[in-house]
């Protein structure tokens, strides 16, 4: 097939795939008195979506900060130091990447309940502060860096923390970008655990709030539902349009190496 024919075929397929999304936007904009953003305003207040938004944002920032700091420390340690049982520990990290998290759903709920943390930011952030996948990514990246600077600093008497956060950390920018993209996206779209670990509307994150909206009084109210869906998708779509290359690269990291 020629390049042009392949492009035409792709365009057709993409159009078919985009149809449901276009339909969603159309439904959210079509009101009784023509095209308007009325549903958006109404659903924003009814949600309350401003609250969901703030919750999602707080959780995303805390979880991102936790992952950047904790995973850098762990990934660096796994890459650079010979630790007794280190291989086994790293195998543990790897094994938790792929395991289905549903196994701990019930016990984690009971644990949070006993600690009185259901319906708090603690429940939404603490278990997610260290994503093993990020440790894996950082470990792999650190292993590819030369050790000269670290050695020189060590000879100059710098402490290990200083070496990590002053010297190594700035060199980690590329992998930390991947970590940030992956962490923010996973967290922003996370549903199962926030759904189980919150009870009140005021603690819901965006996906949970949206799902609840679809079961409540608005369930037959298509315009409002789709407006809510567009609102919760908007931040990621906006980020995607700005950082497209980085995001696609980040989420398919390392594949073509």
């Amino acid at each position: 097939m020629t390049r042009l024919a392949r492009a035409a075929l792709l365009a057709l397929l993409v159009a078919v795939m985009a149809y449901p999304l276009a339909w969603m936007i159309a439904i959210s904009l079509k009101t009784a008195d023509g095209l308007s953003l009325r549903y958006y305003g109404e659903v924003w207040r009814a949600g309350p979506f401003d609250r969901y938004f703030i919750n999602s944002l707080v959780v995303a920032i805390v979880v991102l900060a936790g992952n950047i700091v904790c995973c850098t420390m762990a990934g660096y340690a796994f890459a650079r130091f010979r630790i007794r049982g280190g291989k086994l520990l790293f195998l543990l990290v790897l094994s938790t990447i792929m395991l289905p998290k549903q196994v701990i759903l019930v016990p984690l709920y009971i644990l949070m309940q006993k600690m009185g943390l259901i319906d708090t930011y603690w429940a939404l952030t603490l278990p997610f502060l260290v994503d093993p996948f990020n440790i894996f990514l950082i470990r792999q990246y650190v292993s590819t860096l030369p050790t000269d600077c670290e050695e020189a600093a060590r000879i100059d008497g710098a402490g290990e923390f200083t070496i990590l956060f002053r010297i190594v950390f700035p060199m980690l920018k590329p992998v930390l970008a991947v970590v940030a993209i992956h962490t923010c996206l996973t967290n922003w779209n996370s549903f199962l655990f926030p759904f189980i670990l919150t009870h009140s509307a005021s603690m819901r994150t965006l996906p949970v709030g949206l799902a609840m909206l679809s079961q409540g009084a608005h369930s037959i109210d298509w315009g409002h539902l789709m407006a809510g869906a567009v609102i919760s998708a908007l931040p990621v779509v906006a980020a995607f349009l700005v950082f497209q290359r980085r995001i696609i690269g980040g989420l398919t990291a390392g594949i073509s190496k």
């Binding site: 130091f81 789709m226 869906a229």
Partner: protein
């Protein structure tokens, strides 16, 4: 490596945050759920908690609802994963080389995979509804509408079709990224030999992409075994249990019927089923692997 030093004390501190979170929020619940599996534990009646041995496991084997959920989940996995992979492969093949608007196509294909599953499920719940876009579209061709999600025969296939829609873009991009490692000279050679599109695919693209395809199959299988949010939002497992999946049943058992002990056994069933595939995937995640880094969304 010569630069590696033998356990200086800060290393323990470096690993501490991970170890603490891991121990408290993974290892402990993991062990706890194993204990739960042997208990009759109802949170509303904790005083009556008792050890029931293997009763919960035995229930699994004669519980028709579990068998239905297992069957539906297997149908879902077997019905979506190969289709998604084949379509993703076809899309990736179309994207080969310098084609016009490639960046835009990639972005459009990738878009569904950054959206929350809740958004997608909600959208398709309305899309499939009696007055929804699908029936509207079919009506234009004179085909009678259908309650896709309310008919037990079509509800599961409808959710499966949605899953394929949502997943092919991501896997197409993954396979496209893997394909960039195939040298152009091979394609030029194939062209010189007069190979058609199919022959080129069969003898050049496919053999060289095999590791990436295997990886995509595995991560998609693991992800698909856990299908839940779509079902919760769209059908709640109905009609007549026709879309009840393992994790949906797990959720129902734990949080609606408050049967924590039995729910833990179901959780272990999911764990074992996708665990088999996890082990395969982990082997490919080894540091020297060429496909490191990709993970199911």
């Amino acid at each position: 490596m010569a630069s590696r030093r033998f356990v200086p004390s800060p290393v323990a501190w470096f690993l501490l945050p991970w170890a603490a979170v891991y121990a408290a929020f993974f290892v402990f619940p993991f062990v706890f759920s194993f204990v739960l599996a042997f208990l009759d534990y109802n949170p509303l009646n904790v005083a009556n908690t008792r050890l029931v041995g293997f009763d919960n496991f035995a229930r699994l084997f004669k519980d028709p609802a579990f068998h239905g959920a297992l069957r539906n989940t297997l149908v879902f996995v077997i019905g979506t994963v190969p289709v998604t992979t084949a379509l993703a492969l076809a899309l990736a093949s179309l994207m080969r080389g310098k084609i016009p608007l490639k960046g835009a196509f990639k972005a459009a294909l990738f878009l569904p995979s950054i959206l929350s599953v809740v958004v997608i499920a909600l959208l398709f719940k309305l899309f499939y509804a009696p007055g929804g876009a699908l029936n509207e579209l079919l009506a234009r061709f004179g085909i009678e509408g259908h309650g896709w999600l309310t008919d037990p025969r079509t509800a599961l296939p409808a959710i499966m079709a949605m899953d394929v829609w949502a997943a092919i873009g991501y896997y197409a991009i993954v396979l496209d990224a893997a394909r960039t490692s195939i040298p152009d000279s091979l394609y030029e050679a194939a062209e010189l030999e007069g190979a058609g599109a199919w022959a080129t695919f069969r003898h050049v693209t496919f053999p060289l992409l095999k590791p990436a395809i295997a990886f995509v199959l595995v991560i998609n299988t693991i992800r698909s075994f856990q299908v839940f949010i779509e079902v919760l939002v769209m059908t709640q497992g109905g009609p007549l249990g026709s879309t009840n999946t393992l994790v949906m049943y797990l959720y129902d058992t734990a949080f609606r019927r408050l049967d924590y002990g039995y729910a833990s056994v179901i959780a272990y069933a999911v764990f074992l089923l996708s665990g088999i595939f996890s082990i395969v995937a982990m082997r490919r995640l080894r540091p020297e692997s060429a496909v490191e880094g990709a993970r199911p969304l």
